[in-house]
């Protein structure tokens, strides 16, 4: 495991210029092979998300009963599904929906996690303990389970899936934020800022945020991958984004009944999910190795 130049447990006081350390960190990232590999896959994914409709050879919703459940061929590179829809086109469009769901859910989860995590870390006494307890209750559950239960209440649908995933994921962000805030809040420069009459908001923003940022970014990277997996799980169970919208999980769900005779849908959509999550995990590993070596074990 590489040793970071930033150093384990190093704190960033507001006056210090972290630029040189950070630049060295970026420089080290360029030599981090698995990180670069992850960035390459992620870049390819970004191209697919941006240019999906232009790349797709067919309409992802166009039904063609004559050519149903066909294996990969020059006409349909990845084969067709049970309605004769072109799987390559569905997977290319699916990238948009799956990534949009994951990223939106993470953005919402990050806001909730940030607010609850910093509040529970910063407030002393009972409020902090109660909030910490709430985070722990949610953390105890596997994410899929939380999302499943939430979807059972709200019903399936694009917005509901996003809400369910963000509510399943915020405790994971909150835990990281809470831990970092607890670590930083009693350090001298925070006490000094507080003694000088700094408001809570100012202290959070100027003194605590810079220290929480690196682990937060690492946690967000990993959790986008988790969000992709949870969306896939929900849709696979038929409780996610409703058909005919192509998401990777939906494509796998469609293909489930024909697994033995025509596994293409599940095979390629699962591979697409795997590549996306793998790239996010590799990028997260790289960022963590370089910027936040204390978190190596998480």
């Amino acid at each position: 495991m590489r040793v970071s130049l930033v150093g384990a447990g190093a704190l960033v006081p507001p006056s210090a210029a972290p630029q040189s350390g950070r630049r060295a960190g970026w420089h080290r990232l360029l030599g981090h092979r698995s990180f670069l590999f992850g960035v390459m896959i992620l870049a390819a994914l970004a191209v697919v998300v941006a240019a999906g409709p232009a790349l797709a050879p067919a309409d992802p919703l166009a039904i063609n009963p004559v050519s149903r459940l066909q294996p990969p061929s020059p006409a349909h590179w990845l084969g067709t599904d049970q309605l004769g829809r072109d799987l390559l086109s569905r997977i290319l469009y699916g990238a948009r929906f799956s990534m949009a769901v994951a990223v939106t859910a993470i953005a919402a989860g990050a806001v909730i996690g940030w607010v609850v995590g910093s509040a529970s870390g910063y407030s002393r006494g009972r409020a902090g303990l109660v909030l910490g307890g709430i985070i722990d209750v949610f953390l105890a559950f596997p994410m899929e389970l939380i999302a499943l239960v939430l979807v059972s209440i709200t019903g399936s649908g694009l917005e509901n899936v996003i809400v369910a995933i963000s509510l399943a994921i915020w405790p994971r962000i909150a835990r990281v934020v809470r831990g970092e805030v607890l670590r930083v809040r009693d350090v001298e420069f925070v006490e000094a800022a507080s003694a000088l009459g700094g408001t809570v908001i100012r202290i959070m923003r100027r003194h605590i945020l810079p220290n929480v940022l690196a682990p937060l970014i690492v946690a967000l990277t990993f959790n986008v991958g988790s969000a992709v997996l949870v969306e896939a799980a929900l849709s696979f169970l038929g409780l996610g984004v409703p058909p005919p919208t192509p998401t990777w999980g939906n494509i796998a769900n469609d293909s489930q009944k024909y697994l033995v005779v025509a596994p293409w849908g599940m095979m390629f959509s699962g591979a697409a999910i795997g590549m996306a999550v793998l790239s996010l995990n590799l990028v997260g590993d790289g960022l963590r190795d370089v910027f936040d070596p204390r978190l190596r074990h998480r």
Binding site: E144, F236, L259, N281
Partner: protein
């Protein structure tokens, strides 16, 4: 030690209570009328009079204020009465208990698989740090926890059930027939187990790397202790503290993944039961299954904490 376990159990009970409250409140917010859903299942709409609907509503206790319903629910849960499943016309507890063993088998078998693969793989990778097989094992682990579990299951089905015809694709086996149950358990347990093995291997590797650089390992080697004994008794035993946490986590994840795996392999169990009850809006069954999942997850967490304290005497006294 007993004091510590007692405290952990109390905390877990408090958490279960919170789960009960949350699940109850959330389920009450659900749109759709359970009485209509129940009646449409038992008989055709045409024969249902409004009086009858009201009568069924009274029978199910759904005409009372929500707070009353909640306290009555808590009281019934305390007596082990989780209500009647609207869809199966059977007590929820009975439905759950009849399917729970299959999920427990699945969770335990997958846990065994992931420990049996993950720990040796992690130890090997750590002791051959920087070698080709270390890279291969690390890469396999990284891929292993990035791909969706239904995908691992699909590959196993295609290779071992469809291709080699070694294992069945669906079902749980004949009740009471242990070899048949194991035969049907192999592929689903491997599917969940491989995903868990990836986590355990990764944690074992990094924990072992850390421990192997400790002074006591060098001392043990210097005084001529056999390498195998250094690895197992000195290094692995100390590395087990963080590994235990991950094992507990992967058991929790196996419970969470049971919904997908049981659906994919057409198994009965409380994972597929949860999915079915959600699809059919069977509130009582959803509540009951969620509660049983919550109890399972909290039990696992308490066991992990106890194992943690047993392996690491330092935390018993804090």
């Amino acid at each position: 030690m007993l004091h510590y376990i007692g405290r952990r159990l109390l905390a877990a009970l408090a958490q279960v209570w919170v789960v009960l409250v949350i699940s109850f409140i959330l389920i009450r917010l659900t749109p759709g009328d359970p009485v209509t859903a129940y009646l449409s299942r038992v008989q055709s709409e045409a024969t249902v009079s409004p009086e009858y609907v009201a009568q069924v509503r009274r029978q199910l206790g759904l005409d009372r204020p929500v707070v009353v319903q909640f306290w009555r629910y808590l009281g019934r849960v305390a007596r082990g009465d989780l209500g009647i499943s609207y869809t199966q016309s059977e007590p929820v507890l009975h439905v759950i208990l009849s399917q729970l063993p299959y999920t427990i088998h699945l969770a335990l078998a997958s846990l065994l698989t992931s420990v049996a693969i993950g720990i040796p793989l992690g130890v090997y990778a750590a002791t051959h740090h920087g070698g080709v097989l270390d890279y291969a094992a690390t890469a396999a682990a990284t891929v292993g926890y990035s791909v969706p579990r239904f995908w691992i299951g699909m590959i196993l089905i295609l290779v071992f059930a469809v291709g080699l015809r070694l294992f069945p694709v669906i079902g749980v086996g004949a009740p009471g027939n242990a070899p048949d149950i194991l035969y049907h358990l192999a592929l689903p347990a491997c599917t969940l187990g491989l995903a868990g093995a990836a986590y355990i291997a990764r944690m074992t590797r990094s924990a072992m790397l850390e421990v192997l650089s400790e002074d006591y390992v060098r001392t043990a080697r210097a005084k001529g202790v056999l390498e195998r004994s250094v690895l197992i008794r000195h290094a692995l035993r100390n590395a087990m503290v963080p590994i235990t946490t991950v094992i507990g986590l992967s058991l929790g994840r196996a419970l969470g993944g049971s919904a997908i795996i049981e659906t994919l392999f057409g198994r009965v169990g409380i994972g597929s039961l949860l999915v079915e009850s959600i699809t059919q809006r069977d509130y009582a069954l959803v509540q009951g299954t969620v509660l049983v999942f919550a109890l399972g997850v909290f039990l696992v967490n308490v066991l992990v904490d106890v194992g943690y304290a047993w392996l690491n005497p330092r935390i018993r006294f804090t």
